[in-house]
């Protein structure tokens, strides 16, 4: 039953602090190499915060995409274009077939990188007006989509840090409902001064390398990046003779309904999202071989998420890690970035490490610190939780394990 409902993933693309494509990200994961470093690209007074930046300037990304200098484009859009290009090539999706393909992207920051730079110009003179139209979330998705061709539909989900996970859920629902054979879904988000300062005002940024699930964790490190997956119906993949890289076998979204920025102590929303995803996939908790946790490194999230995992998995919690201590918290893109990381783990048979962890926390889970190479994973759970208690979980399954 679960297999019949599962949606195929026939391609993926990624750009992040630990690599500019899937192979570089895989190499960093296997080497357990963090991408978190002192600030280099963002212009801000807060140079004290380490971040997970994509190691390219806007201009370098424009050159990669063949964009004329001076074209109004945002960093979020540029990263999205690069990740989308890789995903389409991986799925062997030609420009000509995009007409039948849906596009769903997640972002919250949108074009704020340029708006915060040119805000006074927008108000006081007309020298940067071309960037006003790139401010909103939707315009980022349009720029990303248009860089590849003419998609059938384009829309944007903006649910803060769970945006990309929800975009993947919508894409899968479109396929299950027979609305499309193929949907490209994911998200993109660059670091901006705006949300660096926002998270700083909430006092949830760590001044050092973040340590999810550590007793001495002191907050998150912001990251940036983009990732997209190509979701496809079984019939379409057969018709196109493409093999899946993994299956999206279940997913769930729930609302914590507790607080705008804090998670409930019992992790109700996270518990519901994971439960829904497992039920949707037709799996038992014991079927899960690895959990890629939301694991931001904030005292509140990691405790709440630990409680939710314990409620579901009891005393036998499968290996858990947060890869945010490698990539930084890529906010709206994180659901897609971590989905691609899960796919790489499934395909290559290893459990990513919870970099930087040292001290077990009271009432917390003990994360995975051993790469377990050659470990065969079959089903993995990927968590993404956002502001407002917007909680989403995806179940990803090894493609080979389904006949």
């Amino acid at each position: 039953m679960a297999q019949e409902r599962s949606v195929l993933i026939t391609g993926c693309g990624i750009i992040s602090a630990i690599g500019l494509d899937c192979s570089q990200v895989l190499e960093s994961l296997l080497a357990n190499r963090t991408g978190i470093a002192p600030l280099k690209y963002l212009r801000t007074e807060h140079t004290e915060f380490p971040v997970g930046e994509v190691k390219l300037t806007d201009e370098e990304m424009e050159r990669i995409m063949g964009i004329e200098p001076g074209t109004p484009v945002t960093r979020t859009a540029l990263m999205g274009m690069i990740a989308l290009k890789e995903a389409l090539a991986d799925a062997k999706l030609d420009k000509n077939v995009l007409r039948q393909v849906g596009f769903v992207s997640g972002t919250t920051v949108g074009g704020m990188d340029k708006s915060e730079r040119y805000y006074l110009d927008f108000i006081e003179n007309d020298t940067r007006n071309e960037y006003i139209g790139t401010h909103d979330c939707g315009s980022c998705s349009e720029m990303i989509a248009d860089s590849a061709g003419r998609f059938k539909s384009v829309t944007t989900i903006s649910t803060a840090c769970s945006s990309a996970a929800n975009a993947i859920e919508l894409g899968a629902d479109m396929i299950r409902a027979g609305e499309a054979d193929i949907v490209v879904a994911g998200g993109s988000e660059c670091i901006t001064k705006f949300h660096l300062n926002g998270f700083n005002s909430l006092m949830i940024l760590d001044h050092n390398q973040c340590r999810p699930f550590d007793a001495e964790r002191a907050g998150l490190n912001l990251g940036e990046g983009a990732a997209f997956v190509v979701l496809e119906s079984r019939e379409s993949a057969l018709r196109r003779c493409v093999a899946p890289v993994a299956l999206l076998s279940g997913y769930g979204n729930a609302c914590d309904a507790f607080h705008q920025t804090a998670s409930s102590p019992d992790g109700e929303g996270a518990y519901l999202a994971m439960s829904k995803a497992l039920a949707d996939a037709g799996l038992q908790p014991s079927d899960i071989d690895y959990i890629n946790a939301h694991g931001t490194g904030t005292p509140n999230n990691d405790l709440s998420e630990s409680q939710a995992m314990k409620r579901i998995f009891g005393s036998i919690v499968p290996p858990v890690s947060s890869t945010k201590s490698l990539t930084g918290h890529t906010t709206s893109a994180s659901g897609a970035i971590e989905t691609v990381i899960c796919i790489l783990a499934l395909k290559n048979g290893f459990v990513p490490v919870n970099y930087g962890w040292e001290h077990p926390m009271e009432d917390g889970i003990v994360p995975n610190m051993d790469l377990h190479p050659n470990g065969a994973l079959k089903n993995v759970l990927c968590n993404s939780f956002g502001f407002g208690g917007n909680d989403s979980s995806l179940v990803l399954t090894l493609a080979d394990s389904v006949k």
Partner: protein, 341 residues
């Protein structure tokens, strides 16, 4: 796969806009404006929100909560299975305060509340918290297609049998600064009033409760050519003929030319508009949906909505076509509760 073929009903629809709030009085006696930027007329929020809570909320949140609670109350549903919201710019007031302070005064002493409320999904979350709803919760931000995207998601959730009720809304507020941005970016053009809107609609499948109308389908299209647009409309209508088409015609010639194709596809069918009464913002299309639902509920299309200025009977259905800045289109079909063929 579980799927639902039961009809999806619109149980209630509520608006706060530049017309009288939470009222359909505009159908007979609309307010007329000549200014190029007009803010929404707020209702007395006290009946929905305590004074203490209201002080902590920006206008967008207060309006979102007022239209939502009012729609839920009228529809007799306290805990919807899904809360799905659209917003083009989110809480502009708080975004601007935070951005302005950061750019002019530097990166110190910035207020967490402003940042928190600047996040687009604050409205959807607030409604979830207020109604204790742990179900499906999502937010869309795609310019003037934001409401349409939220409705599309709800429609998918119904079709997949995942939900029985959904609260779908779209909320956009404006400040003088952002109203200027709307014009500079071409989101609002000559002949159009830049405005604000908050709309909440309650949908249910297979309910016996009294309803305004039924939702037959939702389609989203990106940069369709004429053939694709015609095919999508024909597919939506499935051979039926609506009483009228609700358009996003605004009085701006370039915008209105996007709808000229409708005369070829549906000759003789009345064209309707609402932006001349409600202005233009990223949540405008939610107003068109609300207005069409009320025409079907009342069985009458008021003269103020008809492009030809003539009131007419409304008994077969209304097709809604929303063309967003020449690239996104949505096609939505609403039919009366009774008289389904």
């Amino acid at each position: 796969m579980s799927s639902s073929s039961e009809s999806i009903k619109i149980l209630s629809a509520k608006q706060i806009s530049i017309q009288k709030p939470l009222s359909e009085e505009w159908m007979d006696a609309p307010e007329r404006y000549t200014d190029d930027f007009v803010r929404a007329v707020d209702p007395d929020f006290k009946q929905f929100i305590s004074a203490g809570d209201a002080r902590r909320m920006g206008r967008l949140l207060k309006r979102a909560l007022a239209t939502s609670l009012s729609a839920l109350q009228e529809g007799g549903v306290m805990n919807p299975d899904a809360i799905i919201t659209g917003t083009g710019f989110g809480s502009v007031e708080n975004t601007e305060l935070f951005l302005d302070a950061m750019v002019r005064e530097g990166e110190h002493m910035l207020k967490p509340t402003q940042f928190m409320q600047s996040t687009h999904n604050t409205a959807s979350s607030l409604i979830g918290i207020h109604t204790h709803c742990h179900g499906y919760n999502s937010t869309y931000s795609q310019k003037g297609l934001s409401f349409d995207s939220a409705l599309y998601d709800a429609w998918l959730q119904f079709r997949l049998g995942k939900i029985g009720t959904a609260l779908v809304g779209s909320h956009d507020e404006m400040s003088p600064v952002f109203a200027g941005f709307m014009r500079k970016a071409g989101h609002v053009r000559e002949g159009e009033i830049c405005s604000e809107a908050a709309v909440s609609v309650l949908l249910a499948s297979g309910a016996d409760a009294p309803a305004l109308c039924t939702l037959e389908g939702v389609k989203l299209l990106n940069r369709p050519d004429e053939t694709e647009l015609k095919a999508a409309i024909a597919d939506m209508l499935g051979g039926s003929m609506p009483d009228a088409v609700m358009t996003g015609m605004s009085g701006n010639a370039d915008n209105d030319s996007r709808y000229s194709i409708l005369g070829d596809i549906l000759p003789g069918v009345a064209l309707l508009r609402y932006k001349h009464l409600f202005g233009v913002n990223f949540s405008s299309s939610a107003i068109g949906f609300y207005a069409a639902a009320y025409c079907l509920a009342k069985g009458v299309i008021p003269a103020v909505l008809a492009v030809d200025g003539k009131a007419r009977e409304c008994s077969k259905g209304i097709l809604l076509v929303n063309a967003v800045e020449g690239r996104h289109y949505s096609i939505i079909y609403l039919k009366p509760v009774c008289g389904k063929v």
